[in-house]
Symmetry: C3
Subunit: 319 residues, 3 copies
């Protein structure tokens, strides 16, 4: 693996999942692989799970980690090529990326969608520029449109929990929220599910269609109850409108997931990437039920990051 | 040791102090004990000594450290059970604690008293909730009512410096300050002193009585001069009123500790947990005198943290 | 080496440069030297290159690193001796320095010029006080008047790139900027160039003279075109007025360095410490040309830091 931005960077997803599950059984088996090498983690946005799980994964591989909270600790970045930098930005992303590449063997970067400029976000302007100018492999810690380490952890979790001898039905259901939320987790989950052997259904109110580039031929069902029928896994997530870019349409509080709604499922397992707005997106009773996989998902973030770092380190060794 | 919140978590304080002093002589003697394990340090408040000494202690044990400045780097926490999270909080402490437990083998958390809600603070709401939901051992890096790593370091310092063949007289004296300060250091010092073999006196203006749960049968003397008589150790610390919770009563500038006041002591050693408001709480001449132990106390923070981490790691090994 | 504040702390610059270039070839050759020891990095200001390159250097030496973003994570410092601390400052630098010395074997500190009080800045008040009270070796991560790790990296870069059998001509040219910028990089580059075997010329508009303490007998040429004639290296940097301390004089946009201006040079190599205001200080075409050494300079920051840390560690070992 030379970089990790989306499922398209995975040569064979089934094999990758088995390798991640293998790592989970003995996380320290390659604790010398990263020796003398450095992982840089650059955060342009807040992070809890990604920040910690990626550090943990690096430690398991003997890889040093350097963290940069870019806006707080360093300098505000300029993104425009050819800009006359006489304003508020202090360092061009071109220079930041090339400089960081001097100190790091792999760089992870988190750069959320701004949700104000659809073209900039859908073109992955920040991630693309950073990767363009960097000279080392780049890992997405969530970009404007995708969150691949989350999706990989989600796939590992489903792989561990899926029913035997049955293609699982996986439902991604939109959930209410009070803020404009990026599409990255939803897009990314759809993209990865489309690569696995499952019946995949997305349900949301009209107007909340995700970018078809990622949902592709997934079933879109506007009736939540119909969608949930016989589901084995229900993944709950809010996102803002893609068409009316970044907007919250009329409040759809009745889309909050409850135990009552889950009755039509096949005793479905519950998934959420966290952080979750409890009793807004989904009720406490659902999140805290024995069927909830939310902490297993969080736990699997470590092994998702670790298999990706391992693949990149091994790929570099062979280069 | 399964957790570290107060002196009640210490099986035998005398033995613990001797073990800490032994570690100080050879801090790297167990430098493989923490190998492959991770300590998470979560800060809801500022920290210098605790932040650095606990990292140093972890390094001495070969333990990896992950730091989270929770409010700056991650998400604002919700503390109410069952809350409908449609306001400013983004992640429930329940989820944060369970998620952090996925990545860390031990978690330290700093959560100061808010000083606005006496019941919340005295019930240790934040620490208790965090510990309740976490699935790994929790260490207090200072909670609403106690600062046990500081008190352990203070006990180590007194053990090193105490007069031979004499039960030392230890005086905790309130000091003036310009801000509302939590009671944690005062409470905690009282709690630990009550477990050691010394004559322990607390002195403060009327109205600044600490919670009797922690002072217990310690002597309370409202006359500072009387209290200081023949003291071997004088510990200086400000705190706000406990009765009029979090309030500063009338200014008592004449409670500032000076060399003049120390004349009645037995050439007392001077202690302060730092940071100190110089020439407000205590004069420069006192802090900078040869009798001042303030930097030894700071130094002993490392060995306090190290013996606690060691005990927890060894306890887990045997589990 | 006992400390690192300026070129005066270097016994033999030529030897140091060769040693740094040797380290660059095998950065892990002394990866056990720092084992069990701790480097503290204290930032009173933003940092990207220094933050990362010094961590990388420490990792290469097996040295643990503890970072303190002093104002964000800890307490605001008081600098006045004898101050009655009843205002906004919470901890005296005296105490901070002595406490940090309890946990660290070497401390690096970044403390920019405030540019409001010339005497405080030129006297290096913050660095000097910190070093005075610390009990371990102190490294400057850029102080009020100097940036020695940058200058050492610059010297390494020139040493690697200089023409054979010819004393190089090195020109430091002032560049336009929209903000008041400290003099540290300019002063420091002048100070180090004055110790190397080169023809050194400084060019800037009248009124931007640097402190003669650092420029010494360097040639000052107010005509940029004349200065650039036959230059082998052109170092671009803005600074505010030293005489009218911290002020920006009238805008001199025509001092921006362009390819056109470089025509009179000896196909000069281009240097800048970064971050750079592109198309304000210097044009994109210059920075992105094959002659640009800006990323090599950034890369050499690691080896500059590493040789300094190595020298201090070895010096301590022999003590």
């Amino acid at each position: 693996m030379k970089r990790f931005f989306s499922v398209d960077d995975v040569a064979n997803l089934d094999v990758l999942l088995q390798e991640a599950i293998h790592i989970k059984k003995n996380p320290l088996q390659k604790s010398e692989l990263g020796k003398g090498k450095t992982l840089g983690l650059v955060f342009l946005n807040s992070s809890l799970r990604t920040r910690l799980s990626t550090q943990k994964a690096a430690q398991n591989l003997g890889l040093n980690t350097i963290i940069l909270n870019a806006n707080q600790e360093a300098w505000t970045w300029e993104f425009e090529d050819g800009a006359i930098m006489n304003g508020g930005t202090v360092e061009h992303i071109k220079d930041a990326a090339q400089v960081l590449s001097q100190y790091c063997d792999i760089i992870g970067i988190r750069c959320f969608a701004g949700l104000t400029n659809k073209e900039e976000d859908t073109s992955e302007k920040v991630f693309s520029l950073f990767e363009k100018y960097a000279s080392v492999p780049i890992i997405s810690l969530e970009s404007a449109t995708l969150h691949p380490l989350q999706s990989l952890a989600d796939c590992i979790t489903i792989e561990e929990q899926k029913p035997i001898n049955k293609k699982p039905k996986v439902v991604l259901t939109w959930a209410p929220h009070i803020k404009s939320i990026p599409h990255a987790v939803g897009n990314s989950f759809a993209q990865w599910m489309n690569k696995t052997d499952c019946e995949f259904v997305i349900t949301h109110p009209k107007g909340y269609e995700l970018d078809p580039k990622f949902t592709q031929n997934a079933t879109i069902e506007y009736n939540q109850e119909v969608a949930l029928q016989d589901a084995d896994f229900v993944y709950i997530k809010n996102w803002s409108s893609f068409e009316k870019y970044g907007k919250i349409l009329e409040t759809e509080e009745d889309w909050m997931l409850t135990n009552e709604k889950l009755k039509v499922t096949n005793n479905a397992k519950i998934m959420h990437c966290l952080p979750v707005r409890r009793n807004v997106e989904v009720s406490d009773e659902v999140l805290d039920s024995p069927n909830s996989l939310i902490y297993q998902q969080a736990n699997n973030r470590t092994y998702a990051a670790q298999i990706v770092l391992q693949k990149i380190l091994e790929s570099n060794e062979n280069a």
